[in-house]
Every structure is written in C-alpha cells, then in structure tokens.
Amino acid sequence: MPTYKDMVQPVRATENDMKKIHIDPTPDDQKCDKALQYLDEMRKKFRSFVTAMESCVKCGACAENCHTYLGTKDPNNIPTNRAELIRKIYKRYFTLEGRWFGKLVGAEDISLDVIEQWYSYFYQCSECRRCARSCPFGIDTCEVTFVGRQILHWLGIVPKLHASVGAAMEKVGNHTNLPKPGLVDTLEFLADDILEEFGVEMTFPVDKPNSDILYIPSSADFLLNEYTLKGAGLFFSYIGANWTIPSIVAEAGNFGYLFDQRFTQRHNVMRLLDAAQNLGVKKIVWGECGHGWRAAKMYIPTMADRPVPWPITHIHDEVAYYINTNQLKLDPTKNSKPVTLHDPCNYARACDLQENLRTVMKASVVDFREMTPNKDWTFCCGGGSGILFDDPEMYQRRIQLSAKKAELVRATGVGADGNGILCAPCSICKAQLYPMVEEHKLGVEVKGLIDLVGKALVWK
C-alpha cells in the first residue's frame, strides 16, 4: 500500500479513523471538485499562500537548502516543485495565464493522480522553513504544505499516525493516549527515581488548584524522554515554584497544527485555556516540543476564541533568564561528555529561541561544539511535522531525510569516541533521532536540553 505509482506514501487513516476526527471521506468521483472548492477557499484567505503561488521565479535556490531534496534527490522534493504540485492547479483554475496558455506556463488539470502526489510530497515536507530562509523573496513553502495538508484532511486523506493522534487529543488531551491515572503513576515513579539518582526530594503536582505556573510537558516525555520531564521537575523544584501539570492537556505538541489547523488544533488550544482558568495560574510555561512551541507561541493568539490573559513562555526562556541573572547554580562538569546542539527548526526559525538555548547550554556543559550551519540556518532532523512513519518504505525515507543532519553531526566530531551527546530539545526531533543516530552510526546519545540542566543543578 504505501506506494502509489512509484511515490512513497504514509499508511492512510481508514474511513473509521477519519470519522473519529469528524471527517467523512469524500468519494473518489467528487474528490477533484471538492479539492478545487477547498483550494479556492484557502487562496482567498491566506496571503502567504497566494504570494508563494504568484511570485516564485523558479531560480532553484531553495533546492539544495531543503534536506528532503538533498536526502532523496527526488525533484518533487525541491521546495518550489513541491509548491508546484498545487501551483499547477492554482494556475489552471485561478489565473488568466494558466487558463490561456496552459502547459506553457505549467498549468495542469486536476486529477486523482495530482491529489495522490499531494499526499506523497506534502507528507515528506517537515514544515521546517529552511526554504523560506533561503529564498531571495522569503517564499515559505511550509505555508503551501499547510494548505495542501488541510485540503487533504477535508477530503479524508490523512496518515493513520496523524489521525490517531488527533483522535487521542480529543479523547484524553494528549498525543499518547495517557489518561490521568497513567500520568500520575508515571510522575510518582519519576519522583522516586529522582530521589534515588539525584538525592532530591520532590513531587510533580498534577492539577493542583491555585498554582502560579502551568507547565505543559510533551506527552512523549512520559514514555520516551523521562530525563526531560525529570529535568523540568528538578528545575521547578530548585527554584521553589508553585507549579502544576494539567492532566486535561498534558501535551506540548499539537498535531492539529500539522494536518488540521482548524478544529483539531483549536481544540487543544481551548483545553489549555480551560486548564489555565480552572487552576488559577498566572503564567504558562512550555516544555520541549518544536512544532508545539511554534503552535503555542505564534498561533494561540490567533487561534483562541477568547482573551488569553496568561503570558506564555518557553522553559528555556525562563532557564536562560535565571542564568543571565545569576540565580541558578549550575555545575557544568556534571555534563562532561562532548555535546553538540541540534537547533530544532521550529525554535530557531519560527520562535527565536536559538540564543537562549545557547545560554542554557553553555552554562550546563563543559564541552559544547556548535554545528554548522546552525541557528536560523539549521537543517531539520528529517522527522519534522510528525512524519515519524515506521512502515518499511517510509522508514527508509526517514533515513534519507535525516542524512543531511547526520552529516552535520558527524562533522562536529562529538561522536568520534562514541560517547558524544546530541542535544535535541524537541520531542519530534528526539523521536526521529533516537533511531537515526543508530542508522547513521553517529556515536552519540540523544538528549533534551533541560535534561542537561537538571543534571547540572547544584542543590547545596
């Protein structure tokens, strides 16, 4: 199944999966008409999409700045060609030149094959925006991917992974389907661990009324990145914060942002606002999740249907602030292995977090080595936008999509002796990189950044 006419495609959500996220899939004979109708709606709404459609000069500068083209050499993975998959339809139906000159200007009639192309290539884009950074005009192909995925969602074409995460978000409020008892159990277990390993006595408050701070962890931290959760817990305890984790939205990520920037994304936002209101908090602090932080910082203001009185910051904004004001005592020698930092693209290109990450890093480790390129020119890990598919075909693609990052990690030399650390302070980056550092034999262990802070804190 996961190929269609030589294109790789993620495993699809079934009709039943789609119903759980409130979509009745469109029958094949209506798909083309519906797709045009949705496209018309999107183009009238999003200027970022329209300018991407109408001002590209086909210079090709974006090509080798996209890890998907570098890794696969598939011409449709060149950002402007990815956009062209929609642009050719856009031109044909919504521009004069496309209607008059057709093929000459690259216009094409819509067909089911084109829709299948969208499904394949918009789910190879990691929405990392390196194309926007490199384009002389700042054309943001990520915006085109958003539009493509939104139309596909309305047609009923969504990867099984994304659809099931969307359903879990609505059911329990997090991506990994963890109900409250599961959350509480895990946190108690982690607190015991912390006492044993760090000699620190603390608890992870859940749903504690009248807290000052609402901490939003990534739900993957409960299962896969325990040191990230421990690090955050240690930090909040160290500073004596009155904090809590909300069980109705124990999720820093927001998969809605990745395939349905309407109901699914907004639903998670409203859960957050409910939690903040009910627990009476004064500030919301976000955990390590790249797309989730972008969705929170940049989209909540325009997504929320009511006023948002709580300031929202990232945990590394706060850690960096306390480091800059000399209020944290950190002992970098507790992290003595060589470390390099993978700038999650969503932090470094969409949220302006890159400098704070460095402040925190430099105070927490002894041997920090920069990767080049980095910061706003960072290359994506290849898993961005949740393309963490594990069927064999897509898994092979993931290895290709992470090839560029692997090359850059190797160039830093941190893994030369097999004991390096690749710090990737984003849940999806971690999920992608855990297997990928093995596939590419990089000799590094993947860690979050707050993990390193937690370890370096000096308690007495």
Partner: protein, 270 residues
C-alpha cells in the same frame, strides 16, 4: 506595422500593464495574514525591519548565503538592469548631458553616457546568458524550469541584445537621444509623429520597443511579479515581535535555596 507598434500599441501596453498589476496586487491584498509567521531572528524595531528589506532588495542577502553562484548572476543582472533603466530615463531626458551636473563638458557627458550604457548593457547581456546557461546545465535548476522560464529569459536577451547592437553599431543601426525624446514626448502629449520620423523608421529601435512592450504586457501575468512579491512576502515574514517578559510569578530562588527545598531533611539548608 511600425506605426501600430510605436503609436497605438504603447497605449494598449500601458493599460494592460497598469490594470494587470493592480488586479494582481488587489488579489493579494484581498487575502489576509492569518497567523503570525515571522521568521527568526525576530526584529525588535521597525528600523531593523527596514534594514532587512533593504539588505534583501539591494544586496539579495539571503540569496548570497543560500546560493552563491546564482547570487553572482542574479545580482549583476539586476544591478545592470537598474542602471540601464536609470540610464534610459536620465539619458533620454537630458539628451545624454546628465553628467554636466557633475562638472563635465557637454561632449564629455555624452561620451560618458554612451560608455556607461555600453558597459551595463554588455554586463546585463553576459549575466542573462549566464542565467540561461545555468537553466540548461545545473540539474536542480533544470528540474524547476518550465517552458515559460526559458522564454522569459530569451525575451529579455532579445531586448538587451538589440539595445546593445544599437549602442555598439551606433552609426549603422542606432538612434540619437533627440528623436527618442521626441517620440516619448509625443506619446505623452497624445500627439502622433510624422510617418517619416526617425523613431518610426529605425528598424532596431522599433523592434526594441516592440519586445519591451511584450515584456510589459506579460509582466502582470508572469513571475516578473516577484518585484512586488518580494515586498509582499517580507511584509508577512519580517516584522517586529515583542517577547513576553521572562521571570516566573512568586519565585524567589535565593529563599528557596536558603530553605533547602528538595534537599532531604537532615542534610538541608542552613
């Protein structure tokens, strides 16, 4: 034929160009900036935003970092293009005596004007050829190029080549500034020229003007809209963003450490 190209077509061109561009820009304006998609690092002041716009428009700064070989050709081509356009306007208006204002004699100014014109004309030709070769030879560029992309470059090459020929072989094919100024003035005043006017009887000049008008009419319906597109795009992705203040409510780290929070009792603080 030459009468149509030189006396009627210009008005059609003007209308198509103006309404075409307005139509396109109007469509862009009709859509909205729905979410905040500012690109980091975030500018903190409008002066920084202006700096980004200027660096991108004048130096193609992003392109310089992302694709150096393209930058060389594209930047040279645009610099030459702007110089040539500027030269046309000033040269024709002052009849090549623009450098009198810099203290040159009238004759010297005309020579200077001609020399600069040739230089930038040839430079632009070279840059355009470079860009065209690039489209034929580099795999990734070939992969993004369609028929209209080749045609656009060829059209530009035609305009520039004819212009250069008129410059280099001035006496056989060229035309002086005076009749050109006459031609422009008559167009503006809506007055027809006599049929035997030099502007209507110099074949290369007529051809030059013909292709320029084709280009201008294609402008609103082609990628040449990138001229406005760049600013429209950057207006979306380069804007001021103010961060919320860091610092957590009711947190006093010194007091917390003093109290020995987290340190198991018995070994705690002071």
């Amino acid at each position: 034929m030459s009468y149509f190209i030189m006396q009627i077509m210009p008005y059609i061109t003007l209308v198509v160009f103006t309404f075409g561009v307005l139509f396109r820009l109007g469509r862009w304006a009709g859509s909205r900036i729905v979410h905040n998609i500012t690109l980091a690092p975030f500018p903190q002041r409008n002066s920084q935003v202006l700096g980004i716009f200027a660096a991108e428009a004048i130096f193609f700064r992003s392109l310089f970092s992302s694709d150096r070989t393209l930058w060389v050709g594209a930047w040279l081509m645009h610099i030459a293009l702007f110089s040539v356009i500027g030269g046309h306007i000033v040269g024709i208006y002052t009849l090549g005596e623009e450098f009198i204002y810099l203290g040159l004699s009238s004759d010297l100014s005309k020579e200077m004007s001609a020399l600069l014109g040739v230089t930038f004309g040839i430079l632009m030709l070279a840059a355009l050829v470079y860009l065209l070769i690039r489209r034929f030879t580099i795999t990734k560029v070939k992969a993004v190029t369609g028929p209209s992309d080749y045609l656009m470059l060829i059209l530009l090459l035609a305009i520039v080549t004819i212009g250069d020929i008129m410059r280099v072989f001035e006496h056989q094919f060229g035309i002086d500034y005076a009749p050109v100024k006459d031609f422009v003035a008559h167009l503006i005043m809506l007055k027809p020229l006599p049929l035997d006017h030099l502007a209507l009887t110099t074949p290369f000049f007529v051809l030059h003007i013909f292709f320029v008008q084709i280009l201008l009419m294609l402008f609103p319906f082609s990628k040449l809209m990138h001229v406005f597109g760049m600013f429209a795009n950057r207006w979306i992705i380069n804007r001021v963003y103010k961060e919320p203040a860091p610092g957590l409510p009711n947190v006093d780290i010194a007091a917390a450490r003093q109290a020995g929070i987290g340190v198991p009792s018995g070994e705690g603080g002071v």
